[in-house]
């Protein structure tokens, strides 16, 4: 039981249950399974983005360009669909994954081969990818009436009573769980974050692993690009502007340490769900949506304070004493 309580995911889950309970006192229908399914569906995109970001953060890097990647890939896919409605949706999804992969590989290459800190690289590509969206679209929007019905309805189709969008999230979560906990690359990602120097001696190619991680986050950004555009049925340069910080916020709330090496798939999913529940709940309990930003900001600060207590390592204690003296 004591071991069980050590997992921060349990605490986060408890927090979410309490949160749902609190919301239910004001709006009894919120805890309804049908509504919770809806919340899960609404949060699907944020969840898969948070998983991609998690893989990057675990290796002590950061990917600030995910939202711009999403915007660019979404625009490319939407324009393709508008120009050639005959292209089947699975092919479009593969194209989205491929475009995202290329954008992620550019980040990864700069981090791997030129050793530029990832925050600098992705700060640059954050503006470049969004600017490139403007260049390919000429500043024009792709509206709902230009998209084919298949493009819009694919993710809304229900399979076993659950929308395809939710299924995609479930599949991505399962894949990440398998890769992070059951494969060599997953273990390498954790190892690099915990101790990069020891990882080199253990035979892990740190640079190459970081490259792979950026490819993963790029593919996730691309996939999310299609899902986002077909969900909100508009593609413009402004899509998901500033969303990169929401993604990181979901990771932080989910207990993923920005210092690398600590975090889990469950944490990232729960962190995203926490934010999703707040944004879904505010309108139904009659709180102005303008409160959302301040609430999630407070949640981030609270989460990082709580996480820091768990992360404090034994080896640091001597230094803490010296600092206090």
């Amino acid at each position: 039981m004591k071991n069980f309580l050590k997992y921060r995911e349990i605490w986060l889950l408890a927090g979410i249950v309490v949160l749902i309970g609190l919301i239910s006192t004001r709006f009894p229908g919120f805890a309804d399974p049908a509504n919770l399914r809806q919340v899960f569906n609404d949060t699907s995109i944020l969840m898969i983005l948070a998983l991609g970001q998690m893989a990057v953060i675990l290796t002590r890097s950061i990917d600030l360009s995910m939202a711009s990647n999403l915007c660019f890939t979404g625009m490319v896919v939407a324009m393709l669909n508008a120009a050639h409605p005959a292209i089947p949706i699975p092919v479009l999804i593969v194209i989205a994954l491929a475009v995202g992969l290329v954008l992620g590989a550019i980040n990864g290459f700069l981090v791997w081969r030129l050793n530029i800190p990832s925050i600098v690289v992705t700060l640059g590509t954050l503006t470049i990818y969004r600017g490139a969206t403007f260049v390919v679209s000429g500043g024009a929007w792709v509206n709902a009436d230009q998209m084919s019905p298949d493009f819009i309805n694919f993710q809304r189709a229900a399979f076993l009573g659950i929308p395809v969008l939710s299924w995609i999230a479930i599949i991505v979560i399962a894949l990440f769980f398998l890769v992070m906990t059951r494969t060599a690359i997953g273990r390498s990602i954790y190892a690099i974050g915990v101790n990069p120097t020891a990882s080199v001696y253990a035979g892990i190619d740190v640079g190459r692993t970081k490259f792979i991680v950026f490819c993963i986050s790029g593919m996730i950004g691309g996939l999310a690009g299609y899902l986002w555009i077909s969900r909100y049925v508009i593609a413009s340069v402004e899509v998901a502007n500033g969303y990169e910080l929401n993604i990181i916020a979901a990771c932080v709330i989910g207990g993923i340490s920005i210092a690398g090496g600590i975090g889990s798939v469950g944490g990232a999913v729960l962190g995203a769900l926490f934010l999703g529940i707040i944004s879904n709940a505010l309108p139904v309990i009659n709180i102005s949506p303008f409160w959302q930003m301040a609430i999630s900001g407070s949640a981030i600060i609270l989460a990082v304070v709580l996480n820091a207590r768990g992360e404090r390592r034994q080896g640091r204690i001597i230094l803490r004493k010296a600092e206090a003296a």
Binding site: L114, V120, G139, G260, F290, G297, L319
Partner: protein, 333 residues
Amino acid sequence: MNDTPAPRHIPDRLDKPLSSAIFSWEALLVVIAVVIFAVNSFASPYFLDPWSLSDLTFNFTEKGLIALAMALLIISGEIDLSVAAIVALASTMMGMAVQAGAGTPVLVAIGVVVGLGCGAFNGLLVTRLGLPSIVVTIGTMSLFRGIAFIILGDQAYKGYPESFAFFGQGYVWWVFSFELALFLVAALIYWFVLHRTSFGRQVFAIGNNPVACQFSGVRVNRIKFILFCLTGLMSGIASVLITSRLGSTRPSIAQGYELEAITMVVLGGVSILGGAGSILGVVLAAFIMGLVTFGLGLLNVPGIVMSIFIGLLLIIVIALPIVWRRLREGRFA
């Protein structure tokens, strides 16, 4: 941010002053600035006009003021992503004061004090609780701007007094705006503090090795706290300038400024890993970013396309010395 630092090479002897000056980062920035300046003057007949050049400076003075303090913070190994949100909150508070009938001096005081307070809040969280600054300031970024949204919603504050307009629209002498003068004075002060005082040396030392500093008697946490306060203060000052220039406050004011200020700092040669950098570099980088955006603006290039150039500039300028070193090492190895 947390990438593995490259192994440090300690040379047998230092470079000769002249050669180190020629191959310095600042020299590279000067060359880039001159090239962009020349290209701009050829590309547009309107560029080489004193008033055009004066307008140009408004593109970077506000972000530049924030970048000066941000440079010190990044050199010390921390970062503040909440600066733009501080600008928004300080501007909102000034807007509230205007509705209550406050005069210009009170408005300025409110802007500056709110900025300082926000900076101190960041500093306390980072130094007292030992939290990573990148996460803390992502949180406070949402919190500060969130408060501005709660207060303002989709409304805007207007009706700033006429005397208040001087800070963002006034000119000190001929084409030299108050904003530019303030930026240059602030740059001088920050240059002096960083490069000519023991405080500045301690900032560099902390960035290189905070643990060694701790054991050498440097009050690491106190200095970091001061740096966060300074960054907040400069954001408050920038907020006064922006609010005065625009004459209105919306909660989305200064959106995205944090990334532009950080781009300036990194472009200016400050190591994002901490421990290295110079104020001269940051000032040059501010000028370059102003030149690029203004020059492209004269050519009717939309703002979003300009951001491609800024992003490319950032990556290329950082990558160039690395590629150059690789080539040289490859040849002499």
